[in-house]
């Protein structure tokens, strides 16, 4: 598939000298859902703002559907819809009015049928005449999405769409995102909820300190970085790991009631069969066996703390 969004060596340095983006390059394919994961202040919002034209980049380029976002900003921006992180809506306007406004702002002729369809899809139609100030927080978020969709964008940016949103609404949001994907919309969402990326993304990008640490298919990332753990629960606790099991590099956990074995799912042999044989030979009786897969969260924490170590050591060297 072709890249609908192409970011090349994008840098942004704020006036005070703070480098929010340090040369980010990324290609996003048409129709995919990309989740950008990163801690607060990683540069996620700056990246989105620079692509959308809300802030000027310091250097580098962004091409949207083949159009440069500066020299051909009209063509480029027409393809993009943006749902900002903060609820930024004029409190005194009506729902229908503000969504209609968004469409007009993008130069599209009025299309009441389409606006109705969008509002219905987002369960906002009943509220069309309500003023923004009278809506709940969740409804306001839906209005932001409706506004972003009003001009029929091909790419939708969702900047932390579920920050501070209750579980039910979060599930609703995920459903909406899946429906949009089914309609062929490319979706880029930022989040610091790993669960969110895991649940809906096709690819995951990890951003920290203004740098894109990696971008990978979610499943591949999980497989590559994912370690599985096997917990062997014993019917009677042991005080130490038997000599004969030393080669398996086990950990004794749960007050000696369980043995923990980490293995790589990609390896040709996981070593489980040998381990279980050796456990039996050592005279230990198994009560239960459990396996656990490391989540995206573990991977993420590993990556970001690794990055922190690296930057710290670099700045240490410089000093």
């Amino acid at each position: 598939m072709a890249a609908i969004l192409s970011i090349h060596e994008l840098r942004k340095t704020y006036e005070g000298g703070f480098q929010a983006l340090k040369g980010v390059s990324l290609d996003i394919e048409e129709g995919e859902i990309l989740a950008l994961l990163g801690p607060n202040g990683a540069g996620k919002t700056t990246l989105i703002s620079t692509i959308c034209g809300i802030t000027n980049g310091t250097s580098g380029s962004v091409s949207v559907g083949g159009f440069d976002n500066v020299t051909h900003f009209r063509r480029a921006r027409a393809l993009i819809g943006l749902v900002p992180q903060e609820i930024t809506l004029e409190p005194f306007t009506g729902v229908l009015d503000t969504v209609t406004f968004s469409r007009g702002l993008f130069g599209k002729p009025a299309n009441p049928a389409l606006v109705e369809e969008i509002l219905r899809k987002l369960s906002l139609w009943e509220k069309r005449d309500s003023r923004i100030m009278d809506l709940s927080g969740g409804m306001k978020r839906r209005v932001l999405i409706a506004k972003a969709l009003a001009h029929e964008p091909r790419i939708l940016f969702l900047d932390e769409p579920t920050a501070g949103v209750d579980v039910e609404l979060r599930k609703d949001m995920w459903e909406i995102v899946q429906e949009l994907k089914a309609d062929g919309v490319t979706i880029i969402l930022t989040t610091h909820y790993i669960e969110e990326a895991e649940a809906i993304a096709d690819r995951v990008g990890v951003i920290a300190n203004g740098e894109l640490l990696l971008v990978e298919e979610k499943d591949q990332l999980m497989a590559r970085m994912g370690q599985k753990q096997l917990e062997v629960q014993l019917s009677a606790p042991v005080s130490a790991i038997p000599e004969s099991l030393a080669q398996h590099s086990l950990q004794l956990v749960n007050d000696g009631k369980a043995l923990l074995y980490s293995y790589d799912t990609r390896a040709e042999r996981t070593g489980i069969t040998t381990l279980l044989n050796d456990v039996a030979q050592a005279g230990l009786v198994l009560a239960d066996v459990q396996t656990r897969e490391s989540s995206l969260e573990d991977i993420f924490v590993g990556l970001v703390s690794g990055e922190k170590l690296r930057t710290e050591s670099v700045s240490g060297d410089a000093a």
């Binding site: 034209g53 009209r74 809506l89 702002l105 002729p109």
Partner: protein
Amino acid sequence: MNWTAVATIYRAEMARFWRTFLQSFISPVLSTSLYFVVFGSAIGSRIQEVDGVEYGAFIVPGLVMLSVITQSISNASFGIFFPKFIGNIYEILSAPINFLEVVAGFVGAAATKSLFIGTVILCTASLFVDLAVQHPLAMVAFLVLTCLSFSLMGFIIGIWARNFEQLQLVPLLVVTPLVFLGGSFYSISMLPPFWQTITHFNPVVYLVSGFRWAFFGQADVPVLLSLCAIGGFTLACMGVIWWIFKTGWRIRA
């Protein structure tokens, strides 16, 4: 030009005006009436005539200018400051529109509002005094140009301001004194020679003078100079706004 976008911004801005229509309408009528009571009746009865024009009528162009200038600045500055303050300016910045279209929408609406208010004041004034307009076309031209140029200035102030206090600062500290000292309520020829020279550095003098000429055929400064001054001011404001959008000063930084 993306005219749909311009019309969309314009309509949304005007919608705010209609929401507060009563306030937009009553307040200029009331303040103009008060000016007439104080300046026209109380003081005017002692001044009688200025340059052969009855004092009550003489102050009308100045009064209109005073309101139109303050209204243009406050409407336009608030119009662009509000989305900045709320944060929904993101939508305007990420839309496929250029600075001319943004300005046309916001400034066009602000200028329309102050034009409306100027007209209301003129109508109110005509209830108090006999008004004859000698050069109607020039009168309309001066009025429209003033609405436009000061709305442009208001737009700049709205982008410059970081908070509500700053939003009030320029109108309060710069514009109001300039307007009051710009010959709204007196003829410059009434001042001592030294102050007459100083007054010529006040841009509002050229506006009031030109506008008054349209009514009574008399001016403190040549009419052509007045037109050039206001034209130059409009161009200067456009230049600043072009620079703001080019560099992203205070909006895309």
